[in-house]
C-alpha cells in the first residue's frame, strides 16, 4: 500500500443547459488500494468540507454489475483498464504525478444532467421497443421441457452479460448503440424462447436506435475495446444478419 498524488481535471457542469468546463484539482494523497470512485469520494469529502459542491457522478453497486457508473478517463470510457468498469478500476494502475482528465460519457443521445451524470434513458427505450420475450406471468412450461445446448446457453449468456452502461456509445465516433442492441438481439435469438419474435425484435430495436439519434455503425471497433463486459463485436455481425433476414422476409414493414 502506498500513496500517490494526481492532478485531476474534472468536467463541471451545473445543469443540462449550463456551460461546462474542466476544473483542476489536486487529488491529495490517494492510496493505491482505493477504487476510482473512492478516489472521487475522497475529493468530494474535501470539497464538501470546504463548502464547495462535490462532483456529481452516478454509481450504485460498486461491483461492476449495475452499469450505473461511468466516465471517460483520459479519453477511455471507464478508464484505461481492459474489461473494467470505473467502480472496479483501482488506483494502483496510475502513477504518482499522473494527470487524469475526467469527463462524462458524451453522445448526441446522452444529455448531460450535471457534472459526470448523463441521461442514458435511450438504452431503456431500445429495450422497450422489443428487447423482451412476450410471455405473461404464469403458465410457462416446465423449465426443462426444451433442452438448450450448453454452447448456445453459454453464448447467450456471453451476450446477456451487457450491463447497459453506455460506454460503447461514448467510445463510438458515431455515438452508435449497435453493440448494446446487438448484445440483446443476440442473447434472445440464441435461445429458442426468443425465436418467435426475432425478426420483429431486430427491426424494432434498430428503428428505435435510429429514431433516438444514435449514429450508425461504421466498424470502428471502439465499442468492443471500451466494453467493460467484453461483449464481442461478433454480436454486431449477428445483429446485421438478423436484421437483413428480417428486412427481407418481413411483411410487416
Amino acid at each position: 500500500m502506498s500513496d500517490i498524488h494526481l492532478t485531476l481535471k474534472i468536467w463541471r457542469q451545473e445543469g443540462p443547459d449550463a456551460p461546462g468546463r474542466l476544473q483542476t484539482y489536486a487529488s491529495g494523497p490517494i492510496s493505491t488500494d482505493m477504487s476510482f470512485l473512492e478516489m472521487l469520494d475522497v475529493l468530494n469529502e474535501r470539497l464538501t468540507g470546504e463548502g464547495e459542491e462535490p462532483v456529481a457522478f452516478d454509481h450504485d453497486c460498486r461491483e461492476g454489475i449495475c452499469g450505473m457508473c461511468g466516465a471517460v478517463v483520459n479519453g477511455h470510457p471507464h478508464g484505461p483498464e481492459k474489461e473494467t468498469t470505473l467502480c472496479q478500476l483501482h488506483m494502483r494502475h496510475f502513477k504518482d504525478g499522473d494527470t487524469l482528465v475526467i469527463e462524462p460519457f458524451r453522445a448526441r443521445a446522452f444529455r448531460i444532467e450535471k457534472d459526470l451524470v448523463v441521461d442514458r434513458s435511450g438504452l431503456d427505450k431500445m429495450i422497450t421497443a422489443g428487447g423482451f420475450v412476450s410471455v405473461n406471468t404464469g403458465g410457462a412450461p416446465d423449465a426443462n421441457a426444451i433442452p438448450i445446448p450448453q454452447k448456445n446457453a453459454e453464448e447467450a449468456m456471453d451476450a446477456a452479460a451487457c450491463i447497459g452502461c453506455g460506454a460503447c456509445v461514448a467510445a463510438c465516433p458515431n455515438a452508435s448503440a449497435m453493440l448494446f442492441v446487438a448484445a440483446k438481439v443476440s442473447h434472445l435469438s440464441l435461445l429458442p424462447q426468443g425465436h418467435p419474435e426475432r425478426a420483429r425484435r431486430a427491426l424494432d430495436m434498430v428503428r428505435e436506435m435510429d429514431e433516438l439519434g444514435f449514429g450508425n455503425c461504421s466498424n470502428e471497433r471502439e465499442c468492443e475495446a471500451a466494453c467493460p463486459k467484453g461483449i464481442s463485436i461478433r454480436n454486431i455481425a449477428r445483429l446485421n444478419r438478423e436484421f437483413l433476414k428480417a428486412a427481407i422476409l418481413s411483411d410487416e414493414d
Partner: protein, 637 residues
C-alpha cells in the same frame, strides 16, 4: 392492535390453494379502473409491476436509479433455489420448506415459507420462458449446484451473475408493459413518504432527483419493494443507494416493523482495507463448495499462507462441524470467523480476516474446472486486491449483507396499513432469524410474480374503484412536510459531511449490534445514537440547493432515517434476550458456544408500532406456532 396474520386454515400443503380460491376476484373490465403504485424495481418490484400490469391494472413504478435495470438485486451472484428435484437427490417442496424454516432458526411463519417453496418451481419456469440464460449441462438440461448449507443441489444459476440475469428478465417483462402503456416508469424518483387517508394507503410523495421537485402520486394501493436496510452499518455488501427511508416513513405512518434486529452477516466478503472504504464486496459463498476455510493454528502466526505447514493449519469449520464442514449456514460461519480472529488467529494486515484455500480443489479437479466454476469471482477478487486465488488463498471476513427484519405483513403481504403491501427484502416474512443462501431471489420473485397478483385483488375488491387523484388535502400536507424536512437539512450548514456521521453510526452498530450482542453494549448504543443524531441535525454539511441534482442531500435524507431506525434495531435486540439465527446474544449460548434459542419465551415475531417521536414504540407479539415441524436445536456437527 391485534395482529392478524390471516393464515388460511386447512393442511399446510393446501393453504395457498384454498386461499387463492377464497380470494375475491376483480373482473377484467374493472381491473383497468384500479391504479397501483409500486415503489422499487428490484426483483420484487419489477416482477410485481409486470405481473400486475399484465392483469390489466394501471401501474406506476418508481426507482432511485436512472433505469429500472439497475436495482440492487442485480448484484446477486450465487443463485436461486427451487424444489425442482431435477437432480433426483431427495429434494421436495417439503424439504425446501423445512430447510428454510430450520435455517431461519424457527422464527418464521410456517404457512408463508411453505408457499414460498411451492411457487419456487414456477419461478424457474417463468424465468426460462423469458430467456434467462441459466447454466446448463451438455445435454441441454438445467444445471444445479448445492449452495449455502443445503445438502441437496437445488440452486439454479447463471454464472456468477444470477441476480443480474433474473433482474434483466423481470426488467424486460416490465419494459414490455411500458410499451403497452400499462406501466408508467418513473426513474430517479425517491419516495419520501406515504399518504394515508381514512386509514388506507392512497399514494406517495416523491422527490424528482434531477429537478428536486416534490411530487404527489395517488393510487388505490401502494406496493413497497424497496429492499433492505443493511446500509445502516455504513459498510455492507449492499448497493450504495440501499436505504430504509421508504420503510421507515411507512412505519411512522402506521405500518408496524418486525424483527428489525435480524441482520445477516455474510461470511465470505473481501476484508476492510482502509478508512476511505465505501462498501464491502461479497465473494459468492458458492466458493465454500470448493474452498477450505482456515487460519494458522498458532495465534500471531504472520507467515504467508504458503509457508504454513499442513499440520499448523486449523481448518476450524471442518474440525468443529464434521458433517457440514465448510458449508455450515452463514451465521455459524461468520461467528466462527469472528471467534478465530478474537483469539488472535486472524490473518492479513488487520488481523480481521481468515483464509479460503482452493489448492486442494485445484489439485483434485484441475485448474481448468476451477476456473470454469469461479473464474469471474477470482477475477473480481484480483481486481480489488491484486492477488490471484489460483496461486494463494483468498482472504475473507464477514460483512453485513441482508436484513431479515422488515415491515410486518400478513399472509397477503399487506402491512398494518390497509392498502400498503410490502414485498421482497423490505418485508420480514420468510427467512426468520437467518436467511439461507439463494432464497432472497426466490422470495422477491415469489412475492412479485406469484403472490401479490392474487392477494392485491382481494383487497381492491373491498374498496371503491372511483378514480383517485392527489387533490385531497392530505397529499398537500405530506408533501409540505417532506419539503420542510429538506429545507431544514439544507439550513444546517454545519461542518461534518454526511458520510462522516454515517460512518460513526455504522461503526457503533457494528460493534454493539452486529455479529454478537450483549445487554451492556446495546444499552450503550441506545445512549449514544441520540447523540449522533443530535450532532447530525446540528452540524451536517450539505452543499448546494434542493432544486437540482444534489447527491449530498439524497444521502443526508437517508442517513437521517437510519439515525432514527438504528434505535429501533437496538431496542429490538435488547428485548430479545435469546439467541436465534443471526441474532447472537452472548448471554444465551450453549456449552459449545452455539446460539441458544428460548422457545418458551421468544417463539414470536417482535412487532413494533410507532408511538410518536418522543415515546418508546409499542411492542406487539405475533406468536409463532409450528404444526408441521418440530423446532429443534440446530446442529451442523
Amino acid at each position: 392492535m391485534i395482529l392478524d396474520s390471516k393464515v388460511p386454515g386447512g393442511p399446510l400443503a393446501e393453504k395457498w390453494d384454498r386461499h387463492r380460491f377464497a380470494c375475491k376476484l376483480i373482473n377484467p373490465a374493472n381491473k383497468r379502473k384500479f391504479d397501483i403504485i409500486v415503489v422499487g424495481a428490484g426483483l420484487a418490484g419489477a416482477s410485481a409491476s409486470a405481473s400486475l400490469a399484465e392483469l390489466g391494472y394501471n401501474v406506476k413504478t418508481f426507482c432511485l436509479q436512472d433505469s429500472p435495470r439497475r436495482g440492487h438485486s442485480i448484484a446477486a451472484q450465487g443463485g436461486i433455489n427451487a424444489a425442482k428435484n431435477y437432480q433426483n437427490d431427495g429434494d421436495s417442496i417439503f424439504r425446501l420448506f423445512y430447510d428454510t424454516i430450520k435455517g431461519g432458526d424457527f422464527r418464521a411463519r410456517e404457512a408463508n415459507v411453505y408457499r414460498l417453496a411451492q411457487v419456487s418451481n414456477n419461478i424457474i419456469d417463468q424465468c426460462v420462458a423469458q430467456g434467462v440464460p441459466f447454466a446448463r449441462e451438455y445435454g441441454g438440461q438445467l444445471a444445479n449446484r448445492s449452495f449455502g448449507g443445503a445438502q441437496v443441489s437445488r440452486t439454479f444459476y447463471a454464472r456468477g451473475q444470477t441476480g443480474q440475469q433474473l433482474l434483466l428478465g423481470a426488467y424486460s417483462a416490465l419494459m414490455r408493459q411500458v410499451k403497452k402503456g400499462k406501466v408508467e416508469m418513473l426513474s430517479r424518483r425517491e419516495m419520501l413518504d406515504v399518504v394515508v387517508i381514512d386509514g388506507q394507503a392512497r399514494g406517495i410523495v416523491t422527490r424528482n432527483m434531477l429537478s428536486g421537485a416534490i411530487e404527489t402520486h395517488a393510487a388505490h394501493a401502494v406496493v413497497l419493494a424497496t429492499g433492505g436496510y443493511g446500509n445502516v452499518y455504513f459498510l455492507s455488501t449492499n448497493a450504495m443507494g440501499s436505504n430504509v427511508t421508504a420503510a421507515w416513513r411507512a412505519y411512522k405512518r402506521g405500518a408496524c416493523f418486525a424483527n428489525p434486529c435480524f441482520v445477516q452477516i455474510h461470511p465470505t466478503c473481501i476484508p476492510v482495507h482502509g478508512t476511505y472504504q465505501s462498501k464491502l464486496t461479497l465473494m459468492s459463498e458458492s466458493l465454500r463448495n470448493d474452498g477450505r476455510v482456515l487460519v494458522p493454528k498458532n495465534p500471531g502466526d504472520r507467515r504467508p499462507p504458503a509457508e504454513i505447514p499442513e499440520n499448523e493449519r486449523d481448518y476450524y469449520l471442518e474440525n468443529k462441524y464434521p458433517s457440514f464442514g465448510n458449508l455450515v449456514p452463514r451465521d455459524v460461519a461468520s461467528r466462527n470467523a469472528k471467534e478465530q480472529c478474537d483469539q488472535g488467529k486472524g490473518v492479513g494486515s488487520t488481523g480481521l480476516a481468515v483464509y479460503l484455500d482452493f489448492s486442494e480443489a485445484i489439485n483434485r479437479d484441475g485448474s481448468g474446472v476451477i476456473t470454469q466454476k469461479y473464474g469471474n469471482l477470482f477475477h473480481m477478487y484480483e481486481k480489488i486486491t491484486a492477488a490471484n486465488p489460483m496461486h494463494e488463498p483468498m482472504m475473507i471476513f464477514p460483512a453485513v449483507h441482508y436484513t431479515m427484519g422488515g415491515l410486518w405483513v400478513d399472509y397477503n403481504l399487506m402491512s398494518t396499513i390497509p392498502g400498503l403491501f410490502v414485498l421482497g427484502e423490505a418485508n420480514f416474512s420468510d427467512h426468520g432469524a437467518n436467511r439461507l443462501g439463494a432464497s432472497a431471489l426466490m422470495q422477491g420473485l415469489a412475492d412479485g410474480y406469484f403472490v401479490i397478483p392474487y392477494t392485491i385483488g382481494n383487497y381492491l375488491a373491498t374498496i371503491s374503484s372511483s378514480p383517485q387523484d392527489a387533490s385531497h388535502q392530505a397529499f398537500k400536507q405530506v408533501a409540505d412536510e417532506a419539503a420542510a424536512k429538506i429545507g431544514k437539512l439544507l439550513d444546517i450548514k454545519g461542518k461534518k459531511t454526511v458520510d462522516e456521521i454515517h460512518r460513526e453510526l455504522g461503526l457503533l452498530m457494528w460493534d454493539s449490534c452486529g455479529m454478537a450482542r450483549n445487554e451492556a453494549g446495546l444499552q450503550q448504543a441506545l445512549a449514544k445514537i441520540p447523540a449522533i443524531r443530535e450532532e447530525f441535525w446540528q452540524n451536517v454539511a450539505i452543499p448546494g440547493s434542493g432544486l437540482e441534482l444534489n447527491q449530498s442531500l439524497e444521502r443526508a435524507g437517508r442517513v437521517a432515517d437510519f439515525l432514527e431506525f438504528a434505535e429501533l434495531m437496538v431496542i429490538d435486540a435488547l428485548s430479545r434476550k435469546e439467541s436465534c439465527g443471526c441474532h447472537f446474544r452472548e448471554e444465551s449460548q450453549t456449552e459449545e458456544n452455539e446460539a441458544k434459542r428460548d422457545d418458551e419465551n421468544y417463539a414470536h415475531v417482535s412487532v413494533w408500532e410507532y408511538n410518536g417521536d418522543n415515546n418508546s414504540p409499542e411492542f406487539h407479539k405475533e406468536p409463532l406456532t409450528f404444526e408441521n415441524v418440530q423446532p429443534s436445536q440446530r446442529s451442523y456437527k
